[in-house]
Subunit: 432 residues, 2 copies
């Protein structure tokens, strides 16, 4: 540690040593969690959820302070304030979310494969094990604190949390409740630690601690993720963008086009699984597109199209080539006509973010071709891209969606927070 002339630790070093100390503490504290029984982990989650409900007043009070401090900041938007704000219903949803994760089967210890080799007498099992310590870096929503900690705990991993600075006060109370849950189940409270300072340097320190942290999960906007990717010396599970497409094939059913493509864009335009670009076969633009276009425009969606689409409605503005590469996260959609499925697949290969891609068609051959050829974490047939979600997939909860190709791809739930090891048993086999 560097010290100033008076021997006091300078501010930077203080954050460095603080974060390092916390990460070491989580590694040490969670060593036993890796092989804790499912019952013990569930008891910690049950008690943690109960404690959150008991501490309702304290949590809401801390949140009121966070919200009022945030309101004073010039960069604060209404949307950010809404994400930050807690109320009784959100608190109950948070506690219930932990109970949902509690009810999942234990992801640790699953025998993923088992076989006996010929000749050398090895009995081999591939068994799921925790990853170790997970560093989670996120923004203002306090419920991420509970979700991330509960998923890590269920999967036997320690976690070091770095919450958004606006929600730090609320997150501290939530973490304390979960730590009390751990303690009452006979587990180390240090399995979960929250970085208690707002200094942004703490993120950089976390990303350097590869000896204590095994995986970094960043949750937030693209700039956060890019910073983490650039600086991290630790493997990162993340998605950068959700530039998702819905492709309307010439043999699509008109009713599905209108319902599914509309939902894919407009249900919640701001989520990563929202469709940003609709591709449609040129020979059905005049027949299949108008009802969808009308529904989108009526709902207030801005539509940017190529010449064929503009010809259908005066309200459609001209799409520039930038539009094909833009994740709007808003009520804006770009629509492009293509000559057929090959051109649609090429467009997606060029502009897609490998998150979620859908085809609407009644033709099984076309659907099969699309799903085999398109390289994305999730490919869909006659299904809204808004379903790209661990909860909707039946995983109970997710810590995020990965567009990595290594390890977890798609929704990242408790199972995806595990690695595996090979357990080999023989009766004294030696290798010839």
């Amino acid at each position: 540690m560097k010290k100033d002339n008076q021997g006091a630790i300078t501010a930077l070093d203080d954050v460095e040593s603080l974060v390092r100390h916390l990460a070491m503490d989580v590694q040490r504290g969670s060593a036993g969690l890796a092989y804790a029984s499912c019952e013990q982990k569930n008891e910690a989650l049950r008690a943690g959820a109960a404690r959150l409900r008991e501490q309702k007043a304290t949590i809401l009070q801390a949140n009121v302070q966070d919200v009022s401090a945030a309101r004073a900041e010039p960069t604060m938007t209404k949307a950010l304030l809404d994400r930050l704000s807690m109320d009784e219903a959100r608190l109950e949803a948070m506690a219930a979310g932990i109970e949902t994760i509690m009810a999942l089967p234990d992801p640790v210890g699953r025998v993923l494969e088992a076989w006996t080799t010929e000749g050398n007498g090895l009995h081999i099992q591939r068994v799921a094990v925790p990853l170790g310590v997970i560093g989670v870096i996120y923004e203002s929503r306090p419920n991420v604190t509970a979700d991330a900690a509960a998923l890590c705990l269920k999967s036997g991993n320690g976690c070091l949390l770095r919450s958004g600075s606006e929600s730090l006060g609320t997150s501290q109370v939530i973490v304390r409740c979960l730590q009390e849950g751990l303690q009452s189940a006979g587990l180390e409270p240090a399995c979960v630690r929250l970085i208690p300072v707002k200094d942004r340097k703490a993120v950089g320190v976390m990303l350097s601690l590869s000896q204590f942290i095994d995986i970094i999960v960043p949750r937030g906007g693209e700039s956060l993720i890019r910073r983490v990717e650039k600086e991290s010396r630790i493997p990162v599970i993340r998605h950068l963008q959700g530039l998702c497409h819905t492709y309307i094939h010439s043999l699509a059913d008109g009713d599905k086009v209108r319902r599914v493509a509309f939902n894919a864009k407009m249900r919640r335009p701001g989520i990563c699984g929202a469709t940003e670009t609709i591709l449609i076969d040129r020979d059905v633009v005049a027949t299949l597109l108008p009802p969808l276009l009308e529904a989108l425009l009526q709902k207030g969606c801005e539509v940017r199209g190529d010449a064929d689409v503009m010809a259908l409605d005066k309200r459609v503005t001209s799409a520039s080539s930038d539009d094909w590469a833009t994740e709007y996260l808003d009520a804006i959609v770009s629509i492009r006509t293509v000559a057929g499925i090959e051109e649609a697949i090429e467009h997606i290969a060029r502009y897609g973010s490998k998150h979620t891609e859908a085809i609407i068609t009644e033709d099984k051959t076309a659907a099969g071709l699309f799903m085999a050829r398109v390289d994305a974490a999730i490919v869909m047939h006659n299904t809204s891209t808004q379903f790209a979600d661990g909860g909707e997939f039946g995983m109970g909860a997710e810590i995020g969606i990965s567009t990595n190709k290594l390890h977890a791809r798609g929704p990242v739930g408790a199972q995806q927070l595990t690695s595996y090891k090979y357990c080999v048993v023989s009766d004294g086999s030696v290798r010839p």
Copy 2:
């Protein structure tokens, strides 16, 4: 590209643009390989192996030139020359190795899981897909060229190879044979490309090309791996060290101790799965260790031990604390006595490289405890650590052994060179 005053590309830029061009070429060339049929991929492998046999004279001639050039280098050792040298038997083994990989089931397209969600009517399949383009960086053994290319091809991945400079001439002929195999099966020869220059800057360029290369697999000594880890902007599948332990528990069978621990160290002391440190319970040092010690010493193994071990035989030298942290890769072993299984597990947690760790015991409870608690890619019971190998595990072949926790851990065969995607089908489901 930077150019000099005469407009000529400077040497560095030349390597840069060359490597970039090759990587782009593999990405483009292997796009169709991702969904090629198993039959087509197998035909390419079959024809490639046949071509290697046909081109025997050319390959051996190129190898003679590589070996004689290498001999002139001052840093060349006998061991390196041996690794570099080909003969008819090694060539036949290389071709047969490709046929072994050919005979494996197709790792691509496997349905890893399938389920239907309740409520929202989604039929979900998790299906294995290739990773994309794999960059393989290796040292002097020419057979790695064939093994790595064949594993990538089988798993639907393109590969860009960077061979050791000593074996470049031999590797070029081998790659040409495999490319002819691809061509005769109607696949793009550009699925496999070898960097045709010896300039070490080529490695740095490879590691920067994250838009064209999805995974880097370095095979070689620790300094190569550390360089790759430090410089790479691309995820790396690797192992750094194999600092493996064999722990002799107080309830071990004496015969297994002598046979298994001896084999674990001495079968081939230079491989990553070789045992480097033997741990033994203090209460059985006098009974179980002497026969093993005698066998090791008689075979010429240098033994470094703590005071309890030194007391058994004058030939045992004193182990320093550095010995516990050293991967000898040689006929040297360190032996330490421990109070019991807890101390053994602690020693391994502190010094082990998370590669392969073994316990010798007749007590199933102790074995279960050891295997649950030790964090390593492979944990073994009454089994020689020298079995840490994809071929011995029944995977047909391996591109290496991973001590990563993300994605592939342990032996990396064709299956481990795949990712997956979710294929979601519904009859027009929209998310509420």
